[in-house]
Symmetry: D2
Subunit: 284 residues, 4 copies
């Protein structure tokens, strides 16, 4: 059996679901998951569908070709069809914080993530030993304002060389350049240590402490050119009180960062997200 | 426009979704919501679908008749089609606890519940004044072991007289008889003050306190003959600590009971639940 | 037995706890609760203590006098001693939203709130019938920019006439004037329908929807002259997804508003909050 | 400065707090944390206190001796005084599941845990490479019914050899013998993959799935001779729905197990727990 995932979004029109499900029926496919969403304000239709069909009788390339001609084009769809056998290739960008790195590599080693990690890029040498401990290639790419163009090019070359599908910024402390953002549109995931839009920018735990909030949070989002303004994939929070110091906030926040980033990575890797209008549809 | 909700469950078979959505297309209907679920272990298919169509061109009675003949029977479906204009009629059974009662009547008065409350039945006179405050008919039906048959008959007569669709036990402290359970199968909702299956039966807060748990919960479920064993609709929990007394547990639990019961009522009234195999599918 | 609650904050100094607990010992009091907090950055000490003593042997007035002379003055304390028999008197300010009102009055009627509600003030007549249903005096005080001074005076007169200790804005849709804020410093509680500091000001659910957040929240805080900037008492959140419309956000938000405001009211009424530096210490 | 943590529990009596805080004052100590609890039903007093004093003027050994003679004995206290410089030594017991192991070792390597991990014991060789990756001594101790006495002795010898203070069962799949439980009373921490007391014993996720619960949980507790009946340290839950398979339950549960066990380890290592009456007082 061949198992595939189909993601669609397009203008809402009558008969889309019927047309798509008829097509699956025509290749004797079995729908194992279907979820759809209509954004009534914007009149946009979204669908995620998983199905399995007999790989002996039907070929994925010709299915894609047929789908494009007879379904995607008539409905003017944005669409993707993924084979579930094909694991996405993820690059990690890191700096000096190691807690998200340990968490991701631990999950990866424990077999929880359905993806490959062929590359870690860092602007510091500090965490090379962690990468080595988990036997992941580690590339040191210095990055400062002065050598931005050079760093950017090195990053792009490495992403190309390792055939990277998407990038995760695991507390990477440099900006990502517009050129890279454009090259990996909706494919760069960041973790920000506040419940956005509260406390964007630097030192959110300090700001949260000063404001006296009773909950702190973390937010994972796709990176866009506007800092901390990209489409949100996942958020979570934890309670704090007057009895917690800034150090406590930071320590509790590390747990949030780990969890929220891990969930966002899984959602993206399992092709459960669609970006539209600077928001995400997450078929979880 | 006529808006309807369709609930289906049946053996999983190919082409069900295509067939149903083709039918909606054939009546020029617009699907505004579709969610489906396949229980792979049991090979059962579940679907909830909302659509709207032109009431001038298509008549609900003939749609139901057509649906039964050409869709439900061939696929051997369990199915329901509800007009969204038709509000379900809910009866409340109460005893002496008033917190869930106040919460439900407050929400009802504030226009949050898309249902009618034509009847409150109690085995005590204590809360008559609350019912009167909200102008809901209150019927006193004494109920003890000795007069069980008489109480049961009175309850059944009142439910029939007021044309009740479903029953909510808002901390009603008597058992519901098998005859009533059979007459309102999967239509009687109870709130139990623990996260079932922990602490079934009487005095769950006392048991939770004694056991030293760090979370307490509440569970709303459909009533079956096995006490506290029916299909769970909704659960929630709150944290407790050593610093909380049993009285604190009870007070915190009241908030849980209110919230969990209110959510279960909404889910049921909006036809978002399907019961199968002593479990619920909740299309929330 | 006389039961009292003592709240203290002052510069952190050695021996404060020993001195206070020695004093309680000297009146043969039994400490039933003691919690303290030191703000290490600001070097401020906070304490909340509950104790009981024999009312025949010791008189509250002389205890207060002794406390002031021999403890509060030497340590330069901000302090309060409350008899637990004395219920605080709360005024509700409302406009047209009724969900928080129903929730508070339901809890009040169910005996969950250890306070008196002798007064409801509204700038609209719409909810008079709800107040009457619960037999609470309702005063209509029109309030617009044009008649601000007059409205303010009427409000102050009513608060004085009914001997009000603290005010709760249960989705009251007008600003509170600086004069009233000054007169009831740290005694006016508001509910804002977002997790502050995200989405201050008007229409936070609309802003949250537009931003595509995955959690929405509510915040209860003491009112200061800076809109939505006062000391936060309590916050909570709930998860949302792409499948929720603005109307869903608003409906889910109502539950948050109810719960968060109810908790803040209880904390304040039970003298569990101390305000310092635009933050709260909450001894919960 | 010498920083110490004092844990006390004893029969509730007047003047305990005053006596202890007077003593701290007498050694010119500064109390940086004090929390206490009275179990009113059992009439037991609990206190946790952190303070710092001048190590040049006061010596920890003589403080302990003085404390015992003049405070602990008169009040008949159970008590401990810990230097905060002295990190507890933790042994991990594991079998084949690696997710908690990776999480704990990642946190340990990231500097989040204030303890030493000098020893990992496993009844399987499978995870030796993980231990080696993090450079922790790994000891293979086979353990089956047939060789129980031998395995137990080997475990005890290793715990003694490595001077272990407390033991964490990170999904260790064998029972701990009564002799070891007695030797490490309230010092062996287990993680159970359900919200106890629901679903004790084997395969709790399968039982939870079958019951159709809407929340699943994990529980960390001290090990006693009664399986899954020991004092609960920490619990947490996550929501599930009909759409989740048993495999989803297990995957979501792994996150719970990681988090709950990590929190319990921190609480124990920071001497924030006191066990009494098969319950815990957790001064968090």
């Amino acid at each position: 059996m061949q198992r595939i995932t189909i993601l669609i979004h397009c203008e809402d029109q009558k008969s889309i679901i019927a047309t798509v499900t008829n097509y699956i029926a025509s290749i004797e496919g079995n729908i194992t998951y279907l979820d759809q969403h209509v954004d009534a304000d914007e009149n946009v239709f979204f669908m995620r569908l998983e199905c399995e069909f007999n790989a002996k009788d039907w070929d994925l390339t010709s299915i894609k070709s047929h789908f494009e001609t007879h379904l995607a084009n008539p409905f003017n769809m944005n669409w993707e069809i993924y084979s579930q056998d094909q694991k996405p290739r993820m690059a990690l960008f890191i700096s000096k914080y190691d807690h998200c790195l340990y968490d991701i590599l631990g999950r990866y080693s424990a077999g929880e993530l359905n993806l490959e990690i062929p590359l870690i890029i860092s602007n510091h040498e500090d965490l090379r030993s962690v990468a080595e401990r988990f036997e992941i290639p580690f590339e040191y790419v210095p990055f400062t304002k002065e050598i931005k163009a050079q760093g950017e090019q090195q990053q792009l070359d490495l992403l190309a060389k390792y055939d990277i599908d998407f990038v995760v910024l695991a507390r990477y402390m440099q900006i990502i350049t517009p050129r890279i953002i454009a090259a990996y549109k909706n494919k760069i995931i960041n973790i920000h240590h506040s419940f956005l839009p509260a406390f964007p920018g630097a030192k959110p735990y300090h700001s949260a402490f000063k404001r006296g909030v009773k909950i702190i949070g973390a937010t994972s989002h796709y990176v866009t050119e506007e800092l901390d303004e990209g489409p949100i994939i996942e958020q979570d929070i934890t309670r704090v009180s007057h009895s917690h110091s800034i150090e406590d906030f930071i320590m509790k926040g590390r747990d949030l960062e780990r969890m929220v980033l891990a969930r966002a990575i899984k959602l993206h890797a399992e092709r459960k997200t669609i970006v539209y209008n600077n928001k995400t549809v997450v078929f979880a």
